[in-house]
Amino acid sequence: MIIKVNKLTKKFKDLTAVSDLSFEVEEGEILAFLGPNGAGKTTTIKMLTTVLDPTDGKIELNGYDPMTQKDMVRHSFGIVFQDSSVDDDLTAYENMMIHAVLYGLKKTEREMKIRNLLEFVELWDRRGKLVKTFSGGMKRRLEIAKGLLHHPKILFLDEPTQGLDPQTRSHIWEYIKKMNEEEKMTVFFTTHYIEEADRVAHRVVVVDHGQIAAVGTPAELKAQTGKDNLEDAFIALTGRTIREESASQNSFMRPPGRMGGRRR
């Protein structure tokens, strides 16, 4: 098991974002981590990726503890964040280069890899433009290109394809699937496009109110709920109420409107 989560809990002042969550991810698996808004998906990813410390519970990632062995954990994963993590006042190329240096890519392969990925997301022609001139979709593509620049053991993708058109989305998922197959890279992703999970994920974990609602392959979840597509199964598992997202927890991390009004 490359990720082990045991009784994970995170409390913010008066709000319990994640409560007693336990699950495991196998090496080489593509796992979809689904849940309605405010279910605790992003908070869980933050704890897995050393950005937040849990209130309680235990995590093991590639054999290391994100609480006490942050450096080893950081060497094990890559991440595409849900919201912007690029510097608007730099060019696309400069952002990629900083990422390449931060992640210790060899000098000889940096330029070629940056070029390949920028071409892949069709931003190579605009590599010299400041990111602040980019549209929401272009920024998102840059985020993804940046996240795929190095090949970690575990790749976290927090709503990576939010706001992209179907062509770009399927293009990007093909690439991720290829990385998964060729390099046995474990992929852990969240999305609100449930059909993406149906098509790509080996296994699905559904969370709601900070707790596990269901675990299984897409086929198992459909059988369990008697629905013929995963989206209906998802709704059957999590109910129809629309969730109020608490804005109080870390709301400073999500400046409104920066990414074309995207939501968690």
Binding site: R74, S84, M97, H99, P255
Partner: protein, 248 residues
């Protein structure tokens, strides 16, 4: 090493690209030189102090470095708000390297700003007593710049909103600035005030600049250098600690 370099480069590039920032931040020092230099000049020399501009310019250079350096901490808060901080914090590099690279970048920007003010002062009529010694002024400019970049970084690590940072920093650096001897001589101060001035690291930066640019040091240059250096080491430890506690 390369990590420190690329983060340094980022700060410098951002600065060089922001023409409004460069020009805008020169207005205040220029105004001080012109208004105070020509306004107080006659009184100062009547009182037997000599050439006021000679006295004032090192202080104005120190002031612009102080402000530019301390406010570079603001960039940490922006980075947090715009998301780039996360990018750095989840990367497999030590926080110390990140902090060091950024702070060196911030300090470099502040030194450039100080140099521009210095060049402007030559047009207003400032004269350097010894150009070789003036090279040593660069060392003092850098020490002051690095010291206050670390100071700004430490405070920014504790704060989440930009307005709060600006309030706190203004509250803290105004007294540092006025009690550093940047604008008035330190002789004949009331005892309590003299103690405060002596405890203020900026006093040694202003004194060092004055000593190297116009040969008017009150303390010795070695004292100035040693105290600034020790203050930098102390803040390096403090700012690293505070920065390592940041949660994105």
């Amino acid at each position: 090493m390369e990590i420190i370099y690329i983060l340094w480069l980022r700060q410098v590039k951002r600065y060089l690209r922001s023409k409004t920032r460069i020009i805008g931040s020169l207005g205040q020092p220029l105004l001080f030189m012109v208004a105070f230099g020509f306004g107080f000049g006659p009184i100062y020399s009547k009182a037997g102090g000599g050439d006021y501009l000679e006295f004032l310019v090192p202080g104005v250079i120190a002031m612009s470095i102080l402000f530019t350096a301390t406010f570079s901490g603001l960039e940490i808060i922006w980075d947090r708000q715009f998301g780039f901080l996360k990018e750095m914090l989840v990367a497999p590099v030590s926080r110390l390297q990140i902090m060091f690279g950024r702070s060196l970048g911030g300090a470099t920007v502040a030194v450039i700003q100080g140099l521009i003010v210095f060049i402007l002062s030559l047009f207003v009529g400032f004269q350097v007593s010894n150009w070789w010694l003036a090279l040593a002024a660069l060392a003092f400019m850098f020490l002051v710049a690095f010291l206050f970049t670390l100071f700004g970084t430490g405070i920014a690590s504790l704060m989440k909103d930009a307005q709060g940072f600006q309030l706190i920093v203004n509250f803290l650096i105004m007294p540092l600035f006025f009690l550093s001897g940047a604008f008035f001589p330190l002789e004949g101060l009331p005892r309590a005030l003299a103690v405060v001035v002596r405890a203020n690291p900026l006093s040694y930066g202003v004194d060092g600049l004055r000593g190297t640019l116009v040969g008017l040091a009150q303390f010795s240059l070695l004292t100035d250098f040693t105290i600034l250096f020790l203050a930098v080491i102390f803040l390096l430890v403090a700012a690293s600690y505070l920065f390592s506690k940041i949660e994105a």
